[in-house]
């Protein structure tokens, strides 16, 4: 019996690794992936970055310019997350199993949320570029839609997890729908919801950098500008500021989470 199980395990892992190998080879062929270059480029990149990719005295003059763009990106991600969270709260209340008022509406909201979430932020940016052009609004709405989709699902799960029992108890006691929402559902899910919002702000800073490269706004634009004009010292300074910003936001989020959760 033991031996048979062992043989079976061997067989399964053999099949698993063969499939993995086939997929790997197929992927290497379709993507034109140069395996040797893949391995050699890492040491090459390290050598290159120690020689060229560090902030120097000249690049320090660009700090005010970088900070203006950084501010724009941070505000973009905060504003899109906050507004999306307000809408997502509404949608989640009508979509979650615990607080929905109508089965059809709930399915509709779940469908829309899934649609918004699964269209990548790049696709949103490319769709909105037609009418909003290269303004901050393209990035704003691209982040807004994806965040709305994500937070609606996260909030629905939070509501279902945290307030199922209290809603049942309040219903039995004869509380009205609005009393249930404002006295039980919102207060008990708020800490978790804020935690999700902070997570999304952090994610959106990174997404905003990407969208910025495509739409010519914010910190992504300034990085791309320095990068394309071979001003690598200035570009590295942009990276330093992004890392500092993300760490600062992570630090604040962790503090808030520790206190409220």
């Amino acid at each position: 019996m033991r031996v048979e199980a062992l043989v079976k395990r061997r067989k399964y892992s053999l099949i698993f690794f063969s499939i993995l190998l086939v997929f790997t080879l197929a992927s290497i062929i379709v993507t034109d992936f140069d395996v040797t270059k893949g391995f050699t480029c890492i040491p090459k990149a390290i050598v290159w970055s120690t020689k060229n990719f560090y902030p120097n005295a000249d690049s320090l003059e660009k700090i005010p310019k970088i900070l203006t763009k950084l501010k724009e990106t941070v505000f973009l991600s905060v504003a899109s997350t906050t507004v999306a969270a307000a809408f997502a709260t509404f949608f989640a209340l009508f979509g979650s199993h615990t607080t929905r008022i109508n089965g059809f509406l709930s399915i509709l909201i779940r469908g829309i949320a899934s649609l918004f979430r699964n269209i990548p932020v790049v696709a949103w940016a490319m769709i909105l570029l037609f009418s909003f052009g290269q303004s901050s609004l393209t990035g704003y709405f691209a982040l807004f839609f994806v965040t709305l989709g994500f937070l609606t699902r996260a909030f629905m799960e939070t509501i279902d997890e945290t307030s199922k029992e209290s809603v049942e108890a309040l219903k039995a006691a004869g509380a009205s729908y609005f009393q249930i929402i404002f006295q039980a559902v919102i207060p008990s899910s708020l800490p978790q919801m804020i935690s999700w919002m902070l997570f999304m702000i952090e994610t959106n800073i990174r997404s905003a950098t990407l969208v910025g490269i495509l739409t010519g706004t914010g910190i992504g634009f300034i990085f791309n500008l320095y990068y394309k004009s071979f001003q690598y010292n200035a570009a590295s300074l942009v990276v330093v500021f992004i890392v500092i910003t993300v760490f600062a936001i992570e630090f604040i989020s962790n503090y808030v989470r520790r206190v409220i959760l």
Binding site: T82, P120, M126
Partner: protein, 287 residues
């Protein structure tokens, strides 16, 4: 320090006010630190948002007009989608290219993360090594994926190599965290029993640690596959990695072809929803 002082006085002020409010109106809900922090967080987010709207670079875009234009654009985009610059065969091929980039990234990232994850797990490694790796991971994750790809593009040239290696960085960062947490859940007794019977580190890892956490590892890896798919689409558009993302970028940024953008979005969406469906099924099975 000064900030700390002022925060403290603010906090004391809050408590005083809250107490007086309690005594005056006999409020039942007592304010504690958690609810004050929550309120401060929400109010500051709201203020930052309002301030943000005043500082955005609108470049003279009329919001109302642009919203109307978007809505009118949606009709040809999603109701009359069609290919203009390439056919169905090439479209499907480009989706496969994107999935290939995703697969390679996840595979290379997963393999590296497996080893570093073992070193980052506190029950299998020393505290210093674990903290060192976790610090490195925090740094890797703070830099956006697209910047990693562009940095590697200088050494490797724009293309699939830079995209895969750059995206691998973030994948490794994400998976080390997930893997090491799964390893840390392993019962301490198992490791001790194996150690006592004379098993070495590699034997402990391959006979106990990996077999017992393999289902978690696979489901985390698949979740990362899903994220990497979105990243691969993005890198095609922003960092010349090819695949369906590149076609999207060309259709929108160069040809201004609404209908093609619509069709490409449908392609991307179909795969994304399929991946999400598989991931949910896996989660139910595993967790």
């Amino acid at each position: 320090m000064e900030l700390n002082e002022s925060l403290k006085s603010l906090w004391a002020e809050f408590q005083r006010q809250e107490q007086s409010a309690v005594s005056k109106k006999l409020k039942i809900r007592k304010a504690n630190k958690a609810s004050i922090v929550m309120n401060i967080t929400l109010v500051s987010l709201a203020l930052l948002t309002i301030y943000g709207f005043f500082t955005f670079d609108y470049k003279g875009v009329n919001i109302l007009e642009a919203v109307i234009a978007t809505i009118t654009n949606l009709k040809p985009m999603f109701l009359e989608p069609r290919f203009n610059h390439f056919g169905l065969g090439k479209g499907l091929y480009q989706v496969v290219v994107t999935l290939g980039l995703t697969f390679l990234t996840t595979l290379i990232g997963g393999t590296i993360a497996l080893f570093l994850g073992l070193l980052a797990a506190q029950n299998l490694s020393s505290k210093n090594v674990s903290n060192l790796i976790k610090g490195f991971v925090a740094f890797v994750r703070a830099v956006p994926t697209v910047l990693w790809v562009l940095i590697f593009a200088v050494a490797a040239g724009l293309g699939s190599v830079a995209a895969v290696i750059g995206m691998t960085f973030h994948t490794v960062g994400y998976l080390i965290k997930a893997y090491s947490e799964s390893f840390e859940e392993l019962d301490e007794g198992v490791i001790e029993a194996l150690k006592a019977s004379g098993a070495n580190w590699w034997q402990i890892v391959f006979q106990a640690v990996i077999p017992s956490s393999v289902t978690y590892l696979l489901s985390w890896t698949f979740m990362r596959f899903e994220i990497n798919y979105m990243n691969a689409v993005a890198m095609g558009a922003a960092a010349g990695a090819g695949g369906i993302g590149y076609e999207l970028f060309m259709a929108s940024g160069y040809y201004f072809d609404l209908r093609e953008v619509g069709l490409i979005t449908y392609f991307i969406l179909a795969i994304a929803i399929m991946l999400e469906y598989i991931s949910i099924k896996l989660k139910i099975k595993v967790l």
